[in-house]
Symmetry: none
Subunit: 201 residues, 4 copies
Amino acid sequence: MTEPKGRKGRETKRRLLKAAAREFANNGFHETKVSTIVKNSGLTQPSFYLYFSSKDAVFEELVTSFQSKIIKLSESVRLEGGIESNDIAKRIVMIIESVFQFLVQDPDLTRIGLFLSPNAKQIRNELTQIVKSNLEAEQRLGYFRYNLDMEIVAECIIGVIEHYTATHLLSGSKEPHILAQQIVDLFINGMLPKGDSIKTT
Amino acid sequence: MTEPKGRKGRETKRRLLKAAAREFANNGFHETKVSTIVKNSGLTQPSFYLYFSSKDAVFEELVTSFQSKIIKLSESVRLEGGIESNDIAKRIVMIIESVFQFLVQDPDLTRIGLFLSPNAKQIRNELTQIVKSNLEAEQRLGYFRYNLDMEIVAECIIGVIEHYTATHLLSGSKEPHILAQQIVDLFINGMLPKGDSIKTT
Amino acid sequence: MTEPKGRKGRETKRRLLKAAAREFANNGFHETKVSTIVKNSGLTQPSFYLYFSSKDAVFEELVTSFQSKIIKLSESVRLEGGIESNDIAKRIVMIIESVFQFLVQDPDLTRIGLFLSPNAKQIRNELTQIVKSNLEAEQRLGYFRYNLDMEIVAECIIGVIEHYTATHLLSGSKEPHILAQQIVDLFINGMLPKGDSIKTT
Amino acid sequence: MTEPKGRKGRETKRRLLKAAAREFANNGFHETKVSTIVKNSGLTQPSFYLYFSSKDAVFEELVTSFQSKIIKLSESVRLEGGIESNDIAKRIVMIIESVFQFLVQDPDLTRIGLFLSPNAKQIRNELTQIVKSNLEAEQRLGYFRYNLDMEIVAECIIGVIEHYTATHLLSGSKEPHILAQQIVDLFINGMLPKGDSIKTT
DNA sequence: GATGAATGAGACTTCATTCAT
DNA sequence: CATGAATGAAGTCTCATTCAT
């Protein structure tokens, strides 16, 4: 609750956060018991309340941490946009890969921020908007079909990212880089054999 | 716990299931209390245990119900596949639309079966496999690029379906038919202007 | 929390209220444990919460009960005023005695309502106002010195009542009737030998 | 726990006592937390235990302090009694006023010693005895009605003092001197118009 | 088929107090 | 003289579940 002042306190708090993240990610908010968290941190229950005002508070702190990290990520992505390579596909691959890299880096936190948090919806929304505005800029430059609604595209990409994160990424059964390439190939080139095109309306 | 024999019993059980579904869908498993379910059904707690052996049991029953319905759906989809028109895009649109229609039909049940259930992962897997095998059949017929890994495509489609279901479908803010068209257009034709093609590896 | 519906429930609630009153009266709010209350009622803790939403709630219910009883008392006192005997002193004795009788009737409740409740101050205030307005009426009829501030008198009487209630009445070491007589004698006739009078300002 | 030796130590202890008194007076014993006391003293919890062996100990120390001060007061009152004027009413006014003055001087301590302490009853008893023996002496000198039980009178006076202390004195809404005059007037002269006298038994 | 009443088990949280520095 | 960190003990409350009618 009061921020720890010495090295030992900071260390203890980190341990608690880590243990909490693991429990939340594995068992969800309600199945996670404070007693388990402290046991896994080698502490007793009152110590927990030395660092967090409640069980909700740790959860919140983890969510906030995820949120602020993801904001940093999206900013850095935007920056790289400036040095933009002339190969549009490669650029998108890189972006998606870096998103995957970020998400896979701390799987517990990702599961909490992206799937467990009540804010999750809002976080996804923000991500969608970022992707959308990026895509629209590129669409205006002629890289993409002019008649494509980039909102839809953005939603689809986010959906795919969510899905893969939940199913293959956090479990480590797919490589971020390869995955990004395959997804982008699909979205960029579509499913038809080369040269074909179909009207769907 | 034993199946109700009389008409009144069946009716009561249905009321309980409905109330339970609403609570689970809105608040999740743990936030849902048996006391609330029975209150909303105009019953008392012991009555609840006349029809279900536990809170877990109702939840399970709802999940199972969703699961069996979705199996029926996928079978009917496969059947229609046999009689189908030669326009591949339209066919896919129809399939996806019918999935959306199914999911939107009972939003509470969908949220439970698709997002809340611990089986959700497995259910999604099954769906993915069905989609994949369908797509592969069509790929062999030359409808799709031969070098496309249909596992990837299937996963992406499922991801998109999940995402839209969670964000726009259950809330009623998008029409299943239009949505299906837009998604399929993207997947079929890709994002590039007509005629272009890009190597992503 | 929900009012008991059957005879057994009402009986149980009464038992809880009684046990609670005894504990509160003897040990104060904080030293009183719900666990003790239920033990003394032959129940388990959850049963307590079947009848009261919290520990605060029982306390409040007891205070309210005291408060409403005292209001009834003061009304009945006012009524008796109508049949007013022509002996003013006797009338006052009777009133004070009936107050003592009331307070001594349920000592636990009295201790709670008069000394432990955060409302106690307010309750005393109300009592003071009632006494004061009664006295003023009698003052206007010429029974009392015209230059006496009846607010002061009322406060003194209430103070004395409180004091005796706390020290001798609830412990049973003084008889209400005799006590009332002695107090009234003092207030009415003062301390001086007959005929004397002293200026105090 | 051991008495502080240095100047700084004594100063710190005084700060703790003061903070403790304020908390106890405002919130009662149980609502008062050691953590709050030390916070308001700009100290940490272990420091508290450097000066007091427990929470009970500080409280006790405050009560004892009040008690010893009140003993000094009653002694000084007795002394002044010896040198006193022959105007009995004025003398009593002065005594009561000096009691009020004393009580109002440190309101926190008064609230603790007179109302919060478990010893309060005993303290009041002692006070009552002192007042009683004083009054009896004066009664023997013929100042007061011979048939008046001075125990009763003493109890009443103490009751009134308590009441006014709790309601108007500590809050500052009445002046000690004026209050004392009005009370004494009532007790000395009674409520009847001059010359009247009533039998109450 | 239904209900009023009761409970076992366990979760979160608080607080006075101490350890080690 | 003082502090950052830690803990034992205990209390309030909740909830799924069952008993007895």
